[in-house]
């Protein structure tokens, strides 16, 4: 319960911040793709951040960077938290840039295999 409360406060703070600040300006989507793979994010979320049984969908349109940052550092869901010691701020910002760069998928109605 205490953990949940702590997490909710952090998340609320992050959402508030997200209205007033921007993602790290120097974030690089190409480096982010490498960091996404190097740090094992793909293992649950897929190489495209598509998610699945093991992890949530991250892309397209990931959550705002600040909320993303708070979540990754403090997760109390099935995803373990990733402290700075093992995933640097720079890498995290790059990862966010990579996820933001992933284009929206097609409408399923335009894919014949999903309409049979």
């Amino acid at each position: 319960m205490e953990t949940t409360l702590r997490y909710l406060l952090l998340l609320a703070a992050a959402v508030l911040i997200s209205f007033t600040s921007r993602p790290a300006a120097a974030a690089d989507a190409v480096k982010g793709k490498i960091a996404f793979e190097k740090n094992g994010c793909w293992q649950c979320h897929g190489y495209e951040g598509q998610g699945g049984a093991a992890g949530k969908t991250l892309a397209p349109k990931p959550m705002a960077y600040e909320a993303f940052n708070v979540f990754v550092r403090n997760s109390n869901t099935q995803m373990p938290p990733y402290p700075k010691q093992i995933l640097s701020d720079a890498d995290l910002a790059d990862i966010h840039a990579y996820l933001s760069s992933i284009p929206a998928p097609k409408d399923y109605k335009t894919i014949p295999l999903l309409n049979q």
């Binding site: 205490e2 953990t3 793979e37 094992g40 793909w42 293992q43 649950c44 897929g46 190489y47 495209e48 951040g49 598509q50 998610g51 699945g52 049984a53 093991a54 992890g55 969908t57 892309a59 997760s75 109390n76 869901t77 099935q78 995803m79 373990p80 938290p81 990733y82 402290p83 010691q85 093992i86 998928p105 097609k106 409408d107 399923y108 894919i111 295999l113 999903l114 309409n115 049979q116």
Partner: protein, 648 residues
Amino acid sequence: MARKDRRRFLTGVLATGAATAVAPAVKAQEKETERAPTALPPTTQVAALETENPGEMAENRIKGTAGSDFMVDVIKTLNIKYCPANCASSYRGIHESLINYGGNKMPEFLTCMHEESAVAMGHGYFKVAGKPLMTLCHGTVGLQHATMGIYNAWCDRVPVIVIGGNDLDAAHRPPGVPTFHSAQDIGAMVRDYTKWDDTPISLQHFAQSMVRAYKIAMTPPYGPVLISLDAGLQQEVIKEHGSEKLYIPKYVPTSPPQGDSGAVKEAARMLAAADNPVIVADRAARTPNGIKLLVQLAELLQARVIDQGSRVNFPKTHYLSTGPAAVSGADVIIGLELSDFWNTVNNWTDNGENGVGENSSRIKPGTKLISISASELLTKSNFQDFQRFQAVDISMVGDAEATLPALIEAVRSAIPNSRKDAIAQRGQAARKAFADQEARAKQAATLGWDASPISTARLVMETYNAVKGLDWSIVSQSGNTSNWQNRLWPLTEHHHWIGRSGGFGVGYGAPASVGAALANKDAGRISVNIQADGDLMYAPGVLWTAAKHKIPQLAVMHNNRGYHQEVMHVQRMASFRNRKSNYGGDMGPVGTRIENPDIEYHKLAESMGWWAKGPIKDPAQLAPALREAVKVVQSGTPALLNVWTQPR
């Protein structure tokens, strides 16, 4: 055997056979004139043996009929079609009788390369055919190999008849290796996860044990059984059992247990009065009829159904089909043969304080819970397959499918006219929710659609497109494809999906798929196996068994090049401990990846007689390869495509 004794035995068997199950065995024998049965009028040769000088007329060195021939007669009365097994000296007597005296039919011996594969083949076969197989193994080293397969069958409530050869007589058995392969009590190894075991010490004892074993295995809740078969007994010459004549007991199926009638009525009243009843089914549909019954119950109540997928319990295309989250809005939940009721209504998050998991509820306070399950009749102490204890409001010990007709009638009687409009409105809401749920699943499938490695959604839907016009059956257990086949394929028939392994012991998938494909071959269906890479490598020899015995299937590798469940566990531990995970030059933690070098599954399969192609990494190459592979499978040859995939 003395001449006088032999004459009495033959007369006795004939007299008994008229009134027992020997008769069908004799009928079967009439069709197979090439072998010498144990229970027929004496042939010229046997008659000569009765009257002439034995030394001059004996045709064999054992001077009579082998006990294992009688064992084969017993087995034949049970109509067991196949015997997948890895050969072993401790059952050489019955092995020889099966293939020579028995004509290698009913059962047909299938050459397996691992005892665990043989058991899993029986497991998969049952889930399609609804009939059990038997397997033979060394009672010691072979049974040790077989144990995980037996455990999976136990957890999945599947009957498999395991016969372990064992040489009990220390004074007469061969020294050396055969003595290493003997034990006092082989059943001890598997007694915690078999329904019953026995060690017959006479042929008559064997006849009783074999029929009893079959009967126990096939009484719901189903489960595996073991017979320890003495090597000496197999090889000894048939003789009388004291003053009794040898006979084969008739097998009569046992009716499955039903829930108590009072409890059924109480449950019906609760369901009829509910505002939002939810049905959860795991192994409710033992047979195709179970699906029909569940549809009746759901439509009567307009209650949404969560199919947890150990069997096809409910058509995925039905508007009342829903996902696990539906329990959160329920006021009454009825669980039918759930393997884990606690985890159905509670949640465990592997991320609490100090790295210990946290519990939370998935349901509203006051939600009433009803359980119908036969599993309580099968609870033992050591292995924890009974899961956490969940208190419920009505608990019925009985087989769900057998109880459903009474429950349906009771619910029909319990619904007052005043409730009928509200129930109909519930159905309308469910139709809309179903349409939304389907659209969401399809849209989610588009994510990563053109990615390389290939997304699991794309893999599954390209495969469906290749077989959709055929009578198909998914013979793989894999939920490791994010369950896309369960979310997007129109699973409506019992054989459309064989469910999971039960005990989640890895290595079940490939051999179970071959067993299920064998049953589908007999039914004229095409088998589709989304084959996990790690699972295949436990005992890939089953690929050879499939080719050897011409058991076709379309195997599409979900080759994510890792043990992904474990990849994530180690990653989680490292994160909890503020440590960077050591990847050792691979793409995941040391010890969890299957890469450097990559396994060329297509070459592996090809070397064992399969048609194979790969590696396929570009999604655009998948459809033409699948078309080609399906044609091969339709010609009777197993085919494998090695596809590089996303992790889940």
